[in-house]
C-alpha cells in the first residue's frame, strides 16, 4: 500500500473520452493491499476550460484501508469534481473544503457498498452529490457536514441502486446558514430512503427542500433540532413529493424539535401529482398524459438545476449521458 500519490504519475486514458468538456484528465488508481483483488479507482476529472476544475488536488495520506483524506488547495480555480468509483468497498472519506470552494461529489458504486464522508465546509461553499449511474443493490451514503458561514448543498439522484439510502447530518456552527436541496427520481421497484438531520447552534439558519419524482418507494425524514441555548435561529423544511405511478409508495416525515422560543420555523409536506390545470394546458397543446408527465418532470429537474451555480456544466453532463433534460 503506497502512502503517497502523485496524480501526475497515473493517467487513465479511458477517462479522456467520457466527458466532452474535459481537456486534461488526471486519473488515479490505487491498490489497497489489505483488500485483495478489489481496487478503488478514483477518477479526478479535471479540466482547464474556463478554469473550472483545479488540477492540483493534493491527497494527504491514506490513513488506513479505506480512508481517504482530501485537502483541496486554495487556488484561483474553485470547482472540483470528484468521481468516486468503488465496487464492494466501504469507504471513509474526510474532506476539507476551503472558503469559496465548490465540490461535485459523484458517486459510482458498482456493487453493494457504503460510503461515509465527513466534510468540513469552511464557508461559502457549494456541495453537489450526484448519483447518476445505475448501481446494483444497496448503497448507503452517510455524510456528516460541519457548516461554517454559507453553504449550499445539493443531492441530485437520477438513477441509482435498487435501494439507495442517504443519511445526511448537518451541524451548523454559530451564525451559519445552510440551504439543502434534494431532488430524486425513483423508478418502479426502487427505494430511496433519506434521513436529513440539522442541528442548530445560536443564530443559525437552515432551509431544507426535498423533492421527489416517485414511481417506486420513497421514505423521507427531515429532522431540525434547535436546542435550548440556540437563540435566534430559523429553520424551514419543505418536502414535495410528486407521484407518477399509481403503485408508488411515499412516506414523508418532517420533524421539528424546538426548545427555544426565539425561533422562526416552518415545514411543508405534500404528496400529489402534477397540477391538473398544467396537465390540461399541455394536453390541450397535443401532448398525451405520459408526454405531459415527462415534460413536467423535466421542468422540475430544469428548475432544480437552474438554482445551482454550475447549471450549464451539469446540463451538458446530463445530456452527454442521455438522461433527462
Amino acid at each position: 500500500m503506497s502512502d503517497r500519490f502523485n496524480p501526475l504519475h497515473y493517467l487513465d486514458k479511458r477517462l479522456i473520452n467520457e466527458n466532452p468538456i474535459t481537456k486534461a484528465i488526471f486519473g488515479l488508481s490505487s491498490h489497497l493491499a489489505k483488500r485483495k483483488s478489489e481496487f478503488q479507482f478514483f477518477n479526478f476529472i479535471v479540466t482547464n476550460e474556463k478554469g473550472i476544475i483545479h488540477s492540483d488536488i493534493k491527497i494527504s495520506t491514506i490513513k488506513n484501508d479505506n480512508t481517504l483524506e482530501y485537502k483541496i488547495d486554495e487556488h484561483n480555480n474553485k470547482i472540483f469534481w470528484l468521481r468516486i468509483n468503488h465496487c464492494d468497498n466501504d469507504i471513509l472519506e474526510t474532506i476539507v473544503l476551503p472558503k469559496g470552494a465548490i465540490l461535485i461529489h459523484e458517486d459510482i458504486s458498482l456493487n453493494k457498498s457504503s460510503k461515509e464522508t465527513t466534510i468540513n465546509c469552511l464557508g461559502n461553499n457549494s456541495y453537489y452529490y450526484l448519483s447518476l449511474h445505475l448501481h446494483e443493490q444497496l448503497f448507503f451514503n452517510k455524510v456528516k457536514f460541519l457548516i461554517n458561514n454559507n453553504v449550499k448543498s445539493y443531492f441530485f439522484t437520477l438513477e441509482h441502486a435498487q435501494k439507495h439510502k442517504n443519511q445526511i447530518d448537518y451541524q451548523l456552527t454559530k451564525e451559519s446558514k445552510l440551504e439543502h436541496y434534494s431532488l430524486s427520481s425513483i423508478q418502479k421497484g426502487q427505494l430511496q430512503d433519506d434521513s436529513i438531520n440539522v442541528v442548530h447552534d445560536k443564530n443559525s439558519n437552515s432551509k431544507v427542500v426535498y423533492q421527489s419524482l416517485n414511481k417506486g418507494k420513497v421514505v423521507s425524514q427531515v429532522n431540525s433540532l434547535v436546542e435550548k441555548e440556540s437563540i435566534g435561529c430559523s429553520t424551514e423544511q419543505n418536502l414535495k413529493h410528486i407521484v407518477l405511478e399509481k403503485t408508488a409508495i411515499t412516506n414523508s416525515k418532517p420533524n421539528l424539535m424546538i426548545c427555544n422560543n426565539d425561533i422562526v420555523a416552518s415545514h411543508g409536506n405534500s404528496i400529489g401529482s402534477f397540477n391538473n390545470e398544467e396537465l390540461f394546458y399541455l394536453n390541450q397543446r397535443g401532448l398525451t398524459k405520459e408526454q405531459a408527465y415527462t415534460v413536467l418532470a423535466n421542468s422540475i429537474i430544469e428548475n432544480y438545476l437552474s438554482n445551482t451555480d454550475i447549471k450549464d456544466e451539469l446540463i451538458n453532463y446530463l445530456k452527454g449521458k442521455e438522461l433527462y433534460v
Binding site: 407521484v243 407518477l244 412516506n251 421539528l256 422560543n261 425561533i263 422562526v264 416552518s266 401529482s273
Partner: protein, 477 residues
C-alpha cells in the same frame, strides 16, 4: 422579547378547582377481578357486559404501558386508585335530582335541571366521578327517536344497540389505556340518532371529577344512522388536588351513509399548579369510523387543561366520499405536557380530510403535535390539507411531526406548519393603535386561533376564548 415574571396566581385562576364533600359510596382502592365484578354489579349490568369487561381486563394484564409519547410522568400505581365512587343521594323518590348535586353543578355553570336553560337548548348529561347524575331533555329527544342517556342506562334499556356497536371502533386490544377503560369504565353518554333525523338541539356531556384519587374512565358511544345529524359537546373540569388523577376515556363514533357528527370538546381539566404539582392525566382514545358513503365527522377541541394530555382523535374514512376534519387549539403552560394530534386514515375512494391544529406553548411546558395521514392502496383520489402552527413563549418546547404515508398514487396531500413567536411588527402596529402590550398579545393569539374557534358552536366559542385568556395571563413574555 424578554420573559416577563410569571404571575403566581394560577391557583386562583382555575376557578373550578373547588371540591365538595359529597357523600359518596366508594369501592376501596385497587384493581382486580373482584372490583370489576363489584362495579358491574352495582350498575346492574347484564352478563355479556361483565364478561366483556373481564376479557378486557385479562388482556390489559398482558400489555405493557406505552412510553413512546414525549411526555414524562411518574409511574402510575394502578392499585392506588378508586375505580368507583358514586354520590349516595342522586335522586329522591319523586325522581328529582338531589338539590345538593344540583347546586354543585350550578356552581360549575352546568344546568342539570330542565328549568334552567342555556340560550339555545342544549341537552346535558352530567357525570360526577363514576356516575351520570342526570340527563335533561330525554323525553323531548325521545319523541324524534333520539336516544340520549347515560351509558349505564343505555346498557339496561337498549342492550341490543350497545352490543352491536360497543368496541367496534376501539377494541380493547387497541392500546393499553383502551383496555383499561374497557375493563373499568364508569359512565359516559350514549347517543343514538335514527335514520334521517336531525337532532333538534345540541347534545352534551359534562364530566366532573370531585373525589380525590378517583380515576375517571368514561365511555361514550355515538351512533348516527343514515342521513342523520348531531352536534355533540363535551365539557369537563376537576377539583384541584395535589395528587394526579387519571382520566382514561374512550369515545367511539359511528357514522353511516350521509350522516354528520360534529364532536366538540372544551377540555379544562385541572392542569396542576405552576410547579407542576397535581393535575389530571388525560389519556384518551377517540376514534370515529366513517362507515357510510358521504359520512362526515369533525372533531373540534380546545385543550387548555390537564397536566398531561395524550390523545389523537382520529377518523377512519372507510366510506367512499367520506370526510374527516380535525380542528384544535392546544395550550400548555407552566409544566403541562401535551402529546396530541390526529390520525386520518383514508381507505375509501374520493375521501377528504382537513387538519388545522394550533398550539400555544408557554412557561416550561412542552407540546408535541403528531399528525398522521395515511392513504391505503385502494383509496383513490384521497385529498388532505393539514396546517399546524405553533406559538412559543418562555421556556417552552415544541415538537411537530406531521407524517404522511401513502400507498396510492392518486392523492393530493398538503401540509404546512409554522412555529414562531408573535411578530414584533404586528405587536407594534396594534400598540400604535392604542393597545397595551398584553391586550395586543391576546388579540394576536386570538387571531392565531380564530380559524379553530369558528368551528365551535356559539356559546362555546366565547367560553373558549375566555379560557385561553385566563390560562395565558402573564405568560406571554
Amino acid at each position: 422579547m424578554q420573559n416577563k415574571q410569571i404571575i403566581e396566581t394560577l391557583d386562583t385562576k382555575y376557578s373550578l378547582g373547588f371540591s365538595e364533600n359529597i357523600d359518596s359510596e366508594t369501592i376501596p382502592k385497587g384493581l382486580n377481578e373482584d372490583v370489576i365484578r363489584l362495579i358491574s354489579n352495582k350498575k346492574n349490568e347484564p352478563e355479556w357486559l361483565l364478561n366483556w369487561r373481564l376479557e378486557a381486563f385479562r388482556h390489559w394484564l398482558t400489555m405493557e404501558e406505552p412510553n413512546w409519547a414525549s411526555v414524562n410522568y411518574p409511574k402510575i400505581d394502578y392499585q392506588d386508585i378508586f375505580y368507583y365512587s358514586v354520590p349516595k343521594k342522586i335522586k329522591n323518590e319523586a325522581g328529582e335530582i338531589d338539590p345538593e348535586l344540583k347546586a354543585y353543578f350550578e356552581k360549575l355553570g352546568v344546568p342539570i335541571g330542565e328549568q334552567q336553560v342555556l340560550a339555545g337548548n342544549i341537552a346535558v348529561d352530567a357525570v360526577l366521578d363514576s356516575q351520570s347524575v342526570g340527563t335533561t331533555f330525554k323525553e323531548k329527544l325521545n319523541k324524534v327517536g333520539i336516544i340520549f342517556c347515560s351509558f349505564n342506562e343505555a346498557v339496561i334499556n337498549h342492550p341490543e344497540l350497545v352490543k352491536q356497536y360497543l368496541g367496534t371502533v376501539v377494541s380493547y386490544k387497541d392500546n393499553y389505556f383502551a383496555a383499561l377503560n374497557s375493563a373499568v369504565f364508569s359512565d359516559g353518554s350514549f347517543c343514538f340518532i335514527p335514520k334521517g333525523v336531525r337532532s333538534p338541539m345540541e347534545l352534551s356531556t359534562y364530566f366532573r371529577i370531585n373525589q380525590a384519587n378517583v380515576g375517571q374512565f368514561e365511555r361514550t358511544l355515538i351512533v348516527a344512522e343514515e342521513g342523520s345529524f348531531v352536534s355533540y359537546l363535551e365539557g369537563c373540569s376537576a377539583s384541584r388536588r395535589d395528587e394526579n388523577q387519571l382520566h382514561a376515556a374512550v369515545v367511539e363514533i359511528i357514522a353511516l351513509d350521509n350522516s354528520t357528527v360534529k364532536y366538540s370538546t372544551v377540555q379544562n381539566w385541572y392542569p396542576g399548579d405552576e410547579n407542576g404539582k397535581g393535575g389530571v392525566y388525560n389519556f384518551v382514545t377517540k376514534r370515529a369510523d366513517c362507515r357510510g358513503y358521504k359520512s362526515h365527522v369533525s372533531w373540534t377541541q380546545i385543550e387548555t387543561g390537564s397536566a398531561i394530555t395524550w390523545k389523537y382523535p382520529s377518523v377512519i374514512l372507510r366510506g367512499d366520499e367520506s370526510v374527516g376534519e380535525f380542528y384544535s387549539v392546544a395550550l400548555t403552560n407552566h409544566h403541562q405536557q401535551a402529546d396530541t394530534g390526529t390520525k386520518m386514515i383514508h381507505l375509501g375512494k374520493n375521501t377528504k380530510s382537513t387538519i388545522i391544529s394550533k398550539s400555544i406553548s408557554a412557561g416550561n411546558s412542552s407540546g408535541t403535535y403528531r399528525g398522521l395521514v395515511r392513504v391505503g392502496s385502494k383509496a383513490d383520489n384521497a385529498r388532505n390539507f393539514t396546517q399546524c402552527d405553533s406559538l412559543i413563549f418562555g421556556n417552552a418546547q415544541v415538537h411537530t411531526h406531521p407524517y404522511i404515508e401513502t400507498t396510492n398514487g392518486s392523492v393530493t396531500l398538503e401540509h404546512e406548519a409554522t412555529t414562531s413567536k408573535i411578530s414584533d411588527e404586528h405587536l407594534f402596529y396594534l400598540q400604535q393603535r392604542g393597545m397595551s402590550e398584553e391586550q395586543a398579545k391576546n388579540m394576536l393569539v386570538n387571531g392565531f386561533c380564530k380559524s379553530v374557534f369558528q368551528k365551535l358552536p356559539g356559546e362555546f366559542a366565547v367560553e373558549a376564548q375566555k379560557l385561553l385568556e385566563i390560562n395565558l395571563e402573564g405568560s406571554l413574555g
